[in-house]
């Protein structure tokens, strides 16, 4: 997993977030790099969802 993807995992482990909130934490990351990192997080199968749509780590 890339350092950016690992950071996103740790951030979500600390606080469930909407995708837009994940984006807001990384305003300077190129959009394509962010999408790739998000794809890594998705592919790792670690994401769960809160009822309101926020992402969390764990099912």
């Amino acid at each position: 997993m890339s350092p950016l993807a690992a950071r996103i995992v740790e951030e979500l482990r600390a606080t469930p977030r909407h995708f837009a909130e994940v984006v807001e934490v990384h305003p300077d990351v190129a959009w394509r790099d962010l999408l790739k990192a998000w794809g890594e997080v998705r592919a790792a199968g670690v994401l769960g969802r809160e009822d309101d749509g926020r992402y969390r780590i764990g099912q």
Partner: protein, 449 residues
């Protein structure tokens, strides 16, 4: 000659309805900027995507939809009906600009496309302007429009919850534990999008309806990795398959056509096998909710006209107002005979999920909200002219049906409201004689300035 996406952009330009944004824009900001423009927007430069441009909010108003349909704003329903009545079969051609660039296998990477983040609670970046083609061995080709949420470079979610022909095709494939191949064309003329949003009978090819609207066949090319055909002049095509996993993957929320944030849904996954596009592609971002709503208007208005005619009521004009998301409300004026105000209401309230119908006489301009208010004020007695029909079929995304209280799989019902704003039986028309100014035609204001 069939018009394409770029011809429509040119038509918008010619009508002064296209704003060019020349400064580089991050994909994070495409939707917010399109929402601030009065015109449709063409983004000439996308940060990190040097080969791409993007367009949005192309049919965000009735005026621009009418421009796409080559008719007046009042004629969009009858124009759409003519396309349904006079279908022209699509035609296969050898090649097309949508395949000028081809990326297959691992090189088919969704992150190479400037997929935008649109709304604050969306589950991810969304591809909103899709024309999804699928095929069933028995029923043939189907074309629909389904939102797709970016997940990984080769995978998206797809909203396949609502009943549709493609949902049926997917279920049939799923029963056989096989994937359903699909192809997704993005950046096509609004006629193709309109045809895709029309719930045609299962044996009717929506692309033939698009051909009927164009007055010429839609030209198709064969896909590279799936046995399907797509419009040759599309800007971008995603080929792949819906995985046989059923409704098991989280998808959403998304800013719905009801102007409300939706819920997380459970849906299938789309796995990409190939991406093709033009050499200088334009990514089309369907701006929610306005474009989705206006693309529904001709369909729901045409259904209203049809329902009135079946009820032997003569329609004069019909309108699906944007306040009802061009879906839940129908307003019609009719040439009324006794009792037909109520007959017209019953007909209009039978259309899909329409939950508010208003009927007026033909002397009322239903496009003028003040005229409509006037008719509802002076031609309505609430104890005689208001119908409430309880327990009709509702739609989940209407919060007032309290779908969340129904439990998983529960189907909501709704009450429907009809207002007969025609002149009541027994009231002479002369009671409604409008005031007229003395000497109105004898003097002119400009002569006194």
């Amino acid at each position: 000659m069939k018009q394409g996406f770029r011809e429509f952009l040119a038509a918008l330009e010619g009508a002064g309805e296209l704003k060019h944004l020349k400064k580089p824009v991050d994909p994070r900001h495409l939707s917010a900027l399109a929402a601030q423009a009065k015109e449709a927007t063409l983004f000439e430069s996308i940060v990190g995507y040097s080969d791409w441009r993007a367009a949005g909010a192309l049919v965000s108003t009735r005026k621009r939809l009418a421009l796409a349909m080559g008719c007046s704003e009042r004629d969009i329903a009858s124009r759409f009906e003519s396309g349904i009545r006079n279908p022209i079969d699509a035609r296969l051609v050898k090649d097309g600009p949508c395949q000028e660039v081809v990326w297959e296998g691992d090189r088919a990477d969704l992150t190479s496309i400037p997929i935008p983040l649109m709304h604050v609670k969306d589950g991810g970046p969304y591809i909103s302007a899709t024309l999804v083609v699928s095929k069933d061995p028995e029923y043939g080709r189907n074309v629909g429009s389904y939102r797709m949420m970016y997940r990984t470079p080769q995978e998206t979610g797809i909203d396949l919850v609502s009943p549709s022909d493609m949902r049926l095709y997917y279920q049939r494939a799923l029963d056989q534990k096989r994937p359903l191949p699909i192809a997704v064309a993005i950046g096509v003329h609004p006629y193709e999008m309109l045809a895709a949003s029309y719930k045609a009978p299962i044996d009717v090819d929506e692309l033939a309806i698009a051909g009927g609207l164009h007055g010429a066949p839609v030209e198709l090319v064969k896909c590279r990795t799936v046995d399907l055909e797509v419009p040759a002049d599309a800007e971008l095509v995603l080929e792949g398959e819906l995985l046989p996993i059923g409704w098991t993957a989280d998808e959403g929320p998304f800013g719905e056509f009801s102007h409300i944030t939706g819920d997380v849904k459970w849906n299938p996954l789309f796995r990409v096998t190939c991406i093709t596009h033009r050499r200088d592609p334009i990514f089309y971002m369907l701006q929610m909710p306005w474009e989705n709503d206006w693309l529904a208007a001709p369909v729901i208005e045409a259904a209203g006209l049809q329902a009135l005619r079946v009820a032997s009521v003569q329609p004069v004009a019909i309108r699906a107002p944007i306040g009802g998301c061009c879906y839940w409300t129908l307003v019609a004026s009719i040439k009324k005979r006794p009792g037909e105000g109520k007959n017209a209401l019953l007909a209009l309230l039978s259309v899909a999920e329409v939950k508010l119908a208003i009927v007026t006489d033909d002397d009322i301009n239903i496009y003028d909200p003040d005229e409509l208010d006037w008719a509802m004020t002076f031609r309505v007695q609430a104890d005689h002219d208001v119908l409430v029909i309880p327990g009709a079929r509702g739609k989940h995304i209407d919060p007032s049906v309290k779908a969340w209280a129904l439990g998983k799989g529960g189907l909501p019902t709704t009450a429907k409201l009809g207002i007969d704003a025609t002149i009541p039986e027994g009231v002479p028309r002369s009671q409604y004689e409008r005031i007229r100014y003395f000497a109105k035609d004898a003097v002119r204001l400009e002569d006194y300035l």
